[in-house]
């Protein structure tokens, strides 16, 4: 596998001792994992506020879906280590999701009832 060397290197560097969380160029005295966790929590609360407190507008649902995808991407990128591992692993998530999205879109445009 051509990615093997890259993976072996990422495996070697798996325990980076300077793994402080950085955001907008500023370094915080906490691990990256904890920083990501805090962001996930804040975004979840914001999503809840969008759904339950803030009056709904035309962009509310798309915004909630974008936030949800963003949260999922954070988990995949940092916690599932796609930022260090071979990117080919991402295909395992992306290809099936794209296939199902196309199928779902197709199903929603098929007439519900026969003419």
């Amino acid at each position: 596998m051509s990615d093997e060397k890259h993976n072996a290197e990422s495996h070697d560097s798996g325990h980076d001792h300077n793994d402080n969380f950085k955001l907008f160029g500023r370094e915080f005295p906490l691990p990256v994992y904890t920083g990501v966790f805090i962001i996930l929590g804040i975004v979840t609360l914001f999503e809840l506020a969008l759904a339950e407190i803030i009056p709904r507008g035309g962009l509310t649902v798309p915004l909630m879906l974008i936030l949800s995808i963003g949260k999922a991407a954070l988990v995949v990128w940092f916690y599932m280590h796609l930022n260090k591992d071979s990117r080919i692993f991402a295909a395992a998530l992306i290809i099936p999701v794209v296939m199902v999205l196309i199928t779902t879109w197709f199903l929603t445009i098929v007439p519900t009832f026969a003419y």
Partner: protein
């Protein structure tokens, strides 16, 4: 899944060949590739049952039913229960990676503590999901049609959330297995592929819940 033989094999290989580190890295890559392929099949299953819900949700009958269900959930503090569950899973994912971080620093006790926290959070998640299901069924949302105006929703709701709950239960058992393995000294700073592979599974379960939380409960 990892087992005892998988954990011990590299030790023997290292002794025999003297280049154990490469062997560890190669084995880790192979295990991760296998796990990602398993996750690909899981994505297909979850995406399919979620898309069934979405097609129902955007349909003319489904949107009315879902509005009624959301009203029921708001009357009873269901959304807060589900939000607590969401935070439980997010926290458990954080515990999982912190455990991985500990074993990468050769701290087995740290790994055990974090993994046990992951398992406990998973157990509480399943318990709260049981409470939620019980309350919803009392409000007429059941797996099969009850002859009420909410018919059609139950199966499309319980399929993805129940299937996800089953994954959490498997994850909890796997977490306990990893903790047991750690207690036996089968992981170290150079041999933690079993922890990493379990982490991939657990985070995937978290990712699925992130999507379910938004698509089913909020939208």
């Amino acid at each position: 899944m990892t087992d005892m033989s998988l954990e011990k094999a590299p030790v023997a290989a290292e002794a025999a060949h003297g280049h154990g580190h490469d062997h560890f890295a190669e084995r880790s890559n192979n295990l991760k590739l296998a796990m990602w392929l398993l996750l690909a099949s899981e994505v297909v299953i979850f995406a399919t049952i979620i898309s069934v819900y979405v097609v129902f949700r955007v349909g003319p009958d489904g949107s009315k039913v879902v509005e009624q269900v959301h009203e029921i959930i708001r009357e009873w503090p269901g959304i807060w229960l589900v939000t607590i569950n969401t935070f439980l899973l997010l926290t458990s994912s954080w515990c999982m990676v912190m455990g991985l971080r500990e074993i990468q620093r050769d701290n087995r006790q740290g790994l055990i503590r974090w993994i046990m926290a992951t398992a406990v959070l998973g157990i509480v998640f399943v318990a709260l999901q049981y409470v939620e299901y019980t309350e919803l069924s009392h409000n007429g949302i059941a797996l099969f049609n009850q002859g009420n105006e909410l018919d059609g929703f139950g199966m499309r709701f319980y399929a993805p959330t129940g299937f996800h709950g089953a994954h959490v239960i498997v994850g909890v058992l796997w977490a306990l297995f990893v903790a047991w393995n750690a207690k036996r000294g089968n992981y170290s700073a150079k041999n933690y592929a079993g922890v990493e592979v379990f982490g991939l599974y657990w985070h995937f379960v978290d990712v699925v819940w992130i999507v379910l939380f938004t698509v089913i409960y909020l939208v």
